[in-house]
Symmetry: D2
Subunit: 356 residues, 4 copies
């Protein structure tokens, strides 16, 4: 049980890859707020597969249908339910997965948890497709945040061994945010794109996949949100991020690097700037004691390489309880990092709106 996230604004995600449909219920939205649905669709398009040559050639018709909570593009205050129908599914591809779990996938763990009753087709409830409703929810939430001066942007910090520049955590340009928000291969330094694509194509050529890191920044968050202990901003954001399949690490500000620093290096000195308190550096990622300090909230999520690879792998036959081999068929992304960028932004939006 974990379909629901949030206290103040609750999102409940449902669906299985090859079932009737997937979707999300969002409860706690402000009545009377007008939603720009084109912007919502634009965010969903960034995540959708088949838009980019690095991605899977499947075509999903990811157009959400809003069943409730919105009237003439205006939020009614009732729970908003959006449904995305499942079409274009090839169930035949997934036949033997129930007995031969794919390494790195949820197959075996889910088999034990659900006793084999879970819908294995297309990954079922564990499919990356379930991130589409999260992007929808995030796209709605970020419009509300934007109306309060809060912007969210993420970029591909690395794919395999190729890295992008990092955000300047003290000052993030609005122009950069807009550019990243509309990009389907979001990079601060766009000259890295070719190298990254080569890294991805090389993995594809080898029947393999490759992981990466996504860095995300949230600007305009006022100081004073979040709190100590288990209500801290880091805890809330990390829970949202770990809700995204394939995320295996989350760090804020200097994160793991701060462990190697001394306090005199890691502490962010305060300054008065134009009558506002700011910090000179932002190693804390905009969060002190679990509370936002008014600087950009900056964090990174590690995305493991997608486990679906066409190389043969060692697995087990759960029926015969003996060792076996598997070669995953079907159409799979060699790298989900570019498409995961809007998902990370969406999870951030849902988390941040729960903090403020």
């Amino acid at each position: 049980m974990g379909a629901t996230f949030g206290d103040k604004l609750k999102i409940t995600v449902f669906g299985e890859s090859h079932g009737g449909g997937i979707g999300v219920v969002i409860d706690g939205l402000p009545a009377g707020f007008k939603i720009d649905t084109d912007k919502v669709l634009a965010q969903m398009a960034r995540r959708a597969p088949g838009r980019d040559k690095t991605a899977t050639p499947r075509k999903e018709s990811d157009l959400p249908r809003v069943l409730s909570g919105m009237l003439d593009d205006t939020l009614t205050g009732a729970p908003l339910c959006a449904v995305i129908e499942n079409t274009n599914t090839r169930s035949g591809d997934y036949g033997s997965l129930l007995t031969h779990p794919r390494p790195g996938h949820s197959d075996y763990a889910a088999f034990v948890k659900y006793g084999g009753a879970n819908d294995i087709r297309g990954g079922g409830h564990f499919s990356g497709r379930l991130t589409a409703p999260i992007v929808f929810a995030g796209a709605v939430c970020r419009q509300i945040l934007e109306s309060r001066g809060i912007a969210i942007a993420a970029h591909i910090q690395s794919v395999g061994s190729v890295s992008d520049e990092l955000f300047d955590p003290v000052s993030i340009d609005g122009e950069l945010i807009r550019r990243l928000n509309s990009s389907s291969f979001a990079l601060i330094d766009e000259s890295r794109e070719d190298d990254m694509r080569r890294e991805i194509e090389s993995a594809r050529f080898d029947g393999d996949s490759v992981g990466g890191v996504i860095e995300c920044a949230v600007t305009g968050v006022p100081a004073g949100f979040g709190g100590p202990l288990f209500g801290g901003a880091e805890g809330v954001i990390s829970q949202a991020l770990f809700g995204i399949p394939a995320v295996k690490g989350v760090e804020f500000g200097a994160g793991f690097a701060s462990a190697a620093l001394r306090g005199s290096q890691n502490n962010d000195p305060f300054r008065v700037e134009n009558g506002r308190v700011v910090t000179e550096t932002n190693n804390c990622g905009g969060i002190l004691g679990g509370i936002t300090d008014g600087m950009p909230v900056v964090f990174r999520a590690a995305i493991k390489p997608t486990p679906s690879i066409s190389q043969p792998q060692r697995t087990v036959d759960l029926e015969r309880m003996e060792n076996a081999e598997i070669a995953v068929k079907g159409r799979h992304d060699p790298c989900i990092v570019p498409r995961a960028v809007p998902v990370v932004e969406a999870a951030a939006a849902v988390a941040i709106i729960n903090l403020i």
Copy 2:
């Protein structure tokens, strides 16, 4: 608001460093379970300051008093409340912090959130002292877990630039776990202790502090616990860990390193071993699709260097809204990593018991 953690077993932490007392309420404990209070006190002693020369010379009398939920060392099923009185407090040390926030501390963010009404003495509700009730709760929970064959151990993976060995994530020896559980400077390779202590003493000599990484393993967790999306094991564990002050990053299994791997390297092949399904490697940290896979659950927490350093630092005067300087007085640990080891174990215990 975030004093409460957990669904199935709820812990609610309260207290301020220099108030009347600190403590925890634990709701959902199994009636009839017998608690070994000596073991609880032993865990609390590992966290207590002043036991080790690397730690602050303050002496806390951290003996918890159980007000409810336990009768003759047996759990009654009612909420267990344990209180630790605050003694030995020198309030005089903290006079000007309300106007001169310490860099890297919660002072400024808390000032904005609470409008200056929060108890600033000794860090108040943000004090590391609040981890004592977490260790208490964890010490109770881990006894319940141990009765089900689940053991938890953590070690200092690094302090500054000095590293310990890592756990063998596939197979963790019970003897090692016992040794780590009773150590106040927990290392896999004990020969690293001298180098680490030198790193800490060097920081102390400079009026500085140093951070580190703690690695934690949970063995004996059966496959099938946790779940997809926001109820995933990573999300629950990370929320508990980020409830510990100073934690700035959390990763599971290969974590951030997996981002640089290919799927063929990162995927953990399945094997049948003595009639059980195991994985040959454990890059996923015992968690696939948010669900435990029966292998050890392994994760790491980045601990930032404690922000209290005696070197002069740049800050602001919040009354005059002008730049200022501060030198933090008082007795402070140059490195909290060794004492944070039992806190990470405790947070893991509280998280794991909520998964099963």
Copy 3:
């Protein structure tokens, strides 16, 4: 925000009467459990309008479509989402309600809460139609309960001044339960039906409506579920019941009548019967100290007369802020009590499954 109910099994209800559709997400269902969908539809038919001459002549096509969580009638363990499309809606009937709130309806309170942005058509999110997804969720939950020997039945205890017999709270016949479960006008003493229908027709004739009381019993609940304080069985069940529009009172066992009793009359003496502990009477409604005692759980819900009446009523014009008159048009039930019986059973099912 209150679309979600439950801890162990969460239901999230969404929809507006004249929007695209209504539905429910159920999270926490047991994987592998086989659902008898005919039984689900039978329960929904009991609530559906237009089946009975006492009810509104509207015809709803209340066939739910399951989008997820079920494969070949077997629960997959993933959140189950069921959607009921909205058809047959006459929006024209509700034109002036935004400015002229109907007495006894949510119109005015909702206007203040949502600033006029809520969907007023057909009652919007406050429509009795929203109980259809609750009945769906209850119909699924009660099959799970039935597999554990727990049965739920309710009957019309009263409509206006006409009363049915009460349950014998100590011993409720399985045959009676089955009869009530399949009845669309559920009475213990079926000879009262004519009088009740006359009471309803008389109200309809007068352009008026009439309320009633529904009594519900849950048999087979083992002793030991629920708990003290805010997790008590009464609290959980009452929260579910007050989630049904028009419920204005809830009582357990002797309820308000017990307030006039002495302890010696109200206390239920214990007896050993066939090696089991039972009580001779059941004034406590099967709940002591918030915990089930093994006897039938018995409670009653007061249903106010439906506020939609065609008689002219005094209201206000919210635009001009002056007194006004309103005569509610459209097709409305003069008495919703018969149709509310399966809704009360469904709410009970969802509550009980959260207790065990």
Copy 4:
């Protein structure tokens, strides 16, 4: 598990009657708010036993000690923990209760739930004494509510067969509220006191007890709080009320009486009065569609007669599994209704603060 109530403001109650102490943690209080502790103690005194001849002659020293969350009577924003030590306990009185459950008490149900491990002395966690921390929490919350113009008052509506007047639900005088708030035998018509006391003394004389009804009103609640479905004001308030031991029924406005009314009688006509929308009657108890409508919120709680009576009663011997007899010894209130009045007010305060 149910020690915790509330979303926005969480209270967590702990303790057992004869353990070390009882208390409450309140999380979510506004920092900087000044608490009048005399007023808090005054509310606690109204509930304390031994102040009135109708009550038990036990003397409790119910002085709460605030461990955290308050500094110089000002809320710090951290969780407030208040502890009441247990003194004056006579454990000897409760010897055989574990094997001979008292009719009407939680003894048997708790025995099954906790397997006999619960602390039976003095009722343990089920003791009415646990309402003292609720009164503390309510006394803090109502001061915050009062600062926003919201007042709460309850009175003894009935004891056995003797009734008080009812509130005029449309207009409740501030003077009356103040008088009720400071009364230890709260009646609208004080001339009924003698008759009620006679009813209570008569029960005491017979070794018996008597129940009653408490009516409560909350004035000054603005329209627009609460919501549809499970977040409705009735659901939240009823869950708080059923957290009070001995409450067996809750109704709002006309409540169960509305079931016998027609819509034309029960609907509350709207009027414009001094530029404000009001209702001419208040049969809905200030709540429409789960949302407050700006009129007084009025509800009633049925309190069963306290089950502790000295008359011999039929019970069972759980060890021998045979019928037995019990005569409850010890000092017990023949009527807890007068002392329950401030508890109902407190539960209302905690519920209302969670709605706004």
